[in-house]
Structure formats: C-alpha cells, structure tokens
C-alpha cells in the first residue's frame, strides 16, 4: 500500500461518511458542518490528483463562500429542526427509482467507458512549466468563449440582487 493509496481510502471514507451523516442529521446547522468536512476533504482528494489550484479553489469557493452563505441564511431565517414528515415514510418508491436510475447510469457508464485518450499534459510537462501556468493558458486561450459566457452567467445573479434591493427601496418595505 503506497501512501497515496492509504490517503485516497481515508479521504474516500470521510467523504462518504460525512455526506451520509450530513444528509441524515436533523439539525440543519450540524448538517452543514458535516458538509463542510465533506468539501474540505474533497479539496484533499484534489491534492492527491495533482490539482493544487483546484483544491484550494474548492475550499475558497465551496467552503469559504457557498456554505457560509447557506449558514448565514439558515441563521437569519431561524430554521428549526425539521419534523419527520409522512412523506418521508410514504415516499419509498421514488427512492427506489432514484437508486435504479443511478445504478443504470453506473452500469451503462462502466460498460461503455474507454480509457484510451491520452492528452499532452504529462506530469513532466506540468513540472517543467508549472501547473497553474498551464491551466491559466488553457483557460484563457483555448476556452475564451466559454469563459465570457460564464462571466455573463455570473452577471445575472448580481443584477438580480441589485434589482431586488432597488425594488425593495421603492416599496419602502424593509
């Protein structure tokens, strides 16, 4: 067992455990803390895959921004622990359908998966130029157009928030 293998199994175990615990936890704040553990460990998994930039971006974006927004929203709205509803018990068919769907795609994927493609970014090349530099060049030279579209996509929520506050000010309601 190499170190990488041991680390992978540790990360995989914690990721699955924290996702499971997070989704069965009834107190929303504690659930979010399990999810925080999940996101940080996914960042660790990216470190094993030589994606350092992505690993820390994962922590900055998911743990540092998205989850904090959820947490603040949770505390502002004063969400109580949710009751176990009847739907939770009645709704077993949809769970089975979901399980079947995922396993169908899993089987389909593993049957048709071809591991032939080899790109030009080998480890030696990454070490020579620097991984973040290669990633940046790829992002800003080969993917310029998707990047611009993404920028417009991100502009929409910004405008939405702005519109919301302008409207609220006109209403005079807090």
């Amino acid at each position: 067992m190499s170190v990488v293998r041991i680390l992978f199994f540790y990360f995989a175990f914690v990721i699955l455990l924290s996702a499971f615990m997070g989704l069965r936890q009834r107190s929303p704040v504690k659930a979010l803390l399990w999810i925080l553990l999940l996101f940080v460990h996914i960042g660790g998994l990216y470190l094993l895959l030589n994606a350092e930039v992505l690993a820390f971006l994962q922590i900055i974006i998911y743990a540092g921004a998205i989850l904090v927004l959820y947490l603040i929203m949770l505390l502002i709205l004063d969400v109580r622990e949710e009751e176990r509803s009847m739907l939770y018990l009645k709704n077993w068919q949809s769970r089975i359908w979901a399980g079947l769907l995922v396993s169908f795609f899993f089987i389909l994927g593993s049957l048709t998966f071809v591991n032939k493609h080899r790109g030009e970014h080998t480890l030696d090349k990454l070490k020579e130029v620097g991984p973040s530099k290669i990633l940046g060049r790829l992002l800003f030279e080969d993917f310029t157009f998707p990047l611009i579209i993404l920028a417009f996509l991100l502009l929409v929520p910004l405008l939405g928030i702005g519109l919301l506050f302008v409207k609220r000010r006109q209403d005079g309601s807090a």
């Binding site: 996702a19 992505l54 974006i61 929203m73 769970r95 979901a98 399980g99 493609h117 790829l138 928030i161």
Partner: protein, 101 residues
C-alpha cells in the same frame, strides 16, 4: 492506471447519496445542499479523469462547474428568501398553493 476506478466509484456513490438526500429531505436549504453534493461528485470524476488521462481540460471543466454553482447558489438563496417571506417556512411540503384538495 491504479486508482482511477476507485475515484469513479467514489463519484457514483457520492452522487447517489446526494440524489437520495434531494429526495428525502423536505427542507429547501438541505435540498439545495444535496444539489451541491451531486455537483461535487461530478467534479471528483472530472478531476480524476483529467489526472489519469493527462489532459487538463477536465480541470477547466471543473472550474466552470464551480463558478456556475456559485452563481446558482446566489439565485437559489434569493428565491429561498423570497419564498420564506411569503410562506414563513422552508418546508417544501407546505408549498401547496396549487394542490386541489
């Protein structure tokens, strides 16, 4: 080759857990979180394939997923806030204005 299958199976399991959470939980916030978990499961697969196939395009895709997820969260939370103002709850079972009975 090595661990690629491990990463792929991990991605599938995580996606399954996320989907299950999306179905089971009745709390709108937790449902949105489940969507995030599913996106992360896909991200793990993308990065793993990118590493084992020696092509950084997978990482670029992951970056795009992350950025659009951040945008989606902003929109989703605004909608959540507005719905909460109207209904006073985040329980999706209580959103039944269009139900007939």
């Amino acid at each position: 080759m090595g661990l690629l299958n491990g990463y792929l199976v991990l991605g599938v399991l995580l996606f399954g857990i996320g989907l299950l959470g999306f179905i089971i939980r009745r709390n709108l916030i937790m449902m949105l979180i489940s969507v995030e978990i599913m996106l992360n499961a896909v991200n793990i697969k993308l990065v793993a394939l990118s590493h084992f196939m020696q092509d950084l395009k997978g990482q670029v895709m992951t970056l795009f997923v992350m950025a659009s997820a951040a945008g989606a969260v902003a929109i989703g939370l605004i909608i959540l806030l507005m719905v909460y103002r109207n209904k006073g709850t985040v329980d999706v079972e209580k959103y039944d204005l269009l139900r007939e009975d």
